[in-house]
Symmetry: C2
Subunit: 425 residues, 2 copies
Amino acid sequence: MKADLRGAGVRDLGGDGPPRAGDRASLRRTNLGLVLRLLRDAGPRPRTQIAADTGLPKATITNLVAELVELGLVREGDAARDGGVGRPSRTLELDGRTVCGIGLEISADYLGLIALDLGGEVVAEHRAALDVRAEGADAVLDRAAATIRTVRRTLKARGTRLVAITVAAPGVIQRDSGVVSYAPNIDWRDVDVLGGLRARLGRICPPLQLENDAKLGAIAEYLVASAADIQDLIYVTGETGVGGGIISDGRLLRGSAGFAGEIGHMRLQPDGERCACGRRGCFETLVGLNALLDHAAAPDDPVRDATVDLEERLAELKRRADAGDPATRAALDTITEDLGLGLAALADILNPRAIVLGGYFAFFGEYLVDRVQLELSARVMAPDAGGCTVLASTLGFSAAARGGASLSLDHVYRDPAGVLSAAGR
Amino acid sequence: MKADLRGAGVRDLGGDGPPRAGDRASLRRTNLGLVLRLLRDAGPRPRTQIAADTGLPKATITNLVAELVELGLVREGDAARDGGVGRPSRTLELDGRTVCGIGLEISADYLGLIALDLGGEVVAEHRAALDVRAEGADAVLDRAAATIRTVRRTLKARGTRLVAITVAAPGVIQRDSGVVSYAPNIDWRDVDVLGGLRARLGRICPPLQLENDAKLGAIAEYLVASAADIQDLIYVTGETGVGGGIISDGRLLRGSAGFAGEIGHMRLQPDGERCACGRRGCFETLVGLNALLDHAAAPDDPVRDATVDLEERLAELKRRADAGDPATRAALDTITEDLGLGLAALADILNPRAIVLGGYFAFFGEYLVDRVQLELSARVMAPDAGGCTVLASTLGFSAAARGGASLSLDHVYRDPAGVLSAAGR
């Protein structure tokens, strides 16, 4: 019987394995993934240990490992010092420096791309300010396709195989069809993102998938937090919109149709400001980027110029806060209180071990984190905020693209042979 | 390798299996549970099919089945008509009419008990009106212990083995210690429920566990809904308090410390009514039983007399609504709107396939369900309320006790030999 690897810290990012079938070839593909995930999550180990951990026969493991080595995903390391008698067995460890996955983020304010190799190292990165709402979908997809072409050439030149691209987009998305159904902050409705990219990239198009940006951010944060054995977290990202991604017991919570995590539209004020979604008093109207800018800056203040890179504008606001500018400080006070209110509702409902603040919230982490933690302690029903710790993301605005790249690589862990044969060995 | 039984509809109620150990005895106990769950979820089948479904050798299955038959959990049924050649093999099916689990609910308004056998049939049921806040914890635990003693005698007389009792309580509970930490609606703080029951029951005390009432209600509703392949649901119960239980992808969502589901204290109105928790404008102040009563009845109206059985009082209110009484109808209109507001937030966050209304909400299902569904369609960000259907519970006020009994029986499915040896074969 298969060992329950969850106890060994195996991560489940919610991707799909090889097609289900009862035949031997399918079982072999599944087992290749099993061995690869074991080496990722439990670390380097000799063949005998892999056999013990998976419950598979030693001879099967020998064959599986040989195939993984041939695929360039595993390599032999040092001889194991297990104190046993006989010939010392060599440990096996992840390789995969020649395999990468891409995450491409379409944000309201920028276009970002990250390529990660199987070891999690960044092999390409790109970000450009872009007023997505003003440019319109066609122009944005043109830019995205051009960026992918450039990065693809770089990867090809260094012999790296690209297995998949995961596109991160805000709002309500349809994973099956690759369509952004409704993203009020960029004013997109029923935009066929994956179809549009495929048409632009043509024959060279790698496998594409679409996922909500905050869900991908949550995956990226979980890969960081799980090192501290945090299995329940909520990633809350403050950009023009406010998105949420929920990891529950080590799994991404998608909901029945993939729409879970729309936390920006909890109504927190019955007669509050009008939201981009048409309703009033949504969480997003209270703590979204525009709320901060409205509180902190006059309409003609250059920090509100959407053609300037968002991080530059936030850096300017941060300088003002550090210098004690009353308007900026008061804006952050208001954001703190409203953030505490919304996050307390989430903590009551989901009882996360951590809430990770991303986007602009992380930028102002030193002003927000400790005070939001106090708000939670005061507002959450369970004692001591239910054990929930507020953290600032350390991934900056790259979280969604990074999570997308990880999800792209997840295919390799689930079906190494199938994915790499498609990517061209 | 083990077949992935989730595809066959195997339910995971979140209980614990036998103690983890790598030895053969522990593996055998795990496999007994595996076979038993397969028969429950995938239906009667011959030994050869069980071997194929579990991936275990035929000889192992023969031994495991023999032990399950001896334990009284499985019986031989009809000969299988599988069209194969040779001796026809007999199908095996669940038995378990002589094994039962108990759920005992401590509600603000009553004490309820249900005993279910392994086939899910009710073998004992009990409910009594009780003003738990007024009586105080000691008197309530006296009553609970007396009820358990009576039911235990009945079960013993008919030869039924009791495997465990799960106690359902409102508010924030500590599963590990068996303590109700904070239940504002019954004014309990740090009440050692399991310790109190053990002291009263003494030597005859069966294994006890404590769980939040709404979580157990969600388990009971999931066992109904999963027949329609609903794997994501939220159970929302309207009593004095408003509780929530979340099933996500077929699993009970407990959160990192077991406190998930505290939906009654989302702040929906900044300057609303004072809540029992000390804050203002909580969801519970808008749609809890007292909100309905406040809207619908004068302070001296007999429907507000907590010493009268809750169902009688609700039946009277229902008669008034059916007769077109303006105050009752207006009260239900207000409840409808506020319920829609809170449930829309939950649907945005969790994207459930179904929201099941329990407690008094179910009692007024014909007034609430369709209109709350409309509110959701208008308020939820995802199109068509994200595919979420509003349903009235068909389990009435017994949902928590029923879910508790199911969770008690879950131990049998996880470790049949261990549990029944403890219960006395």
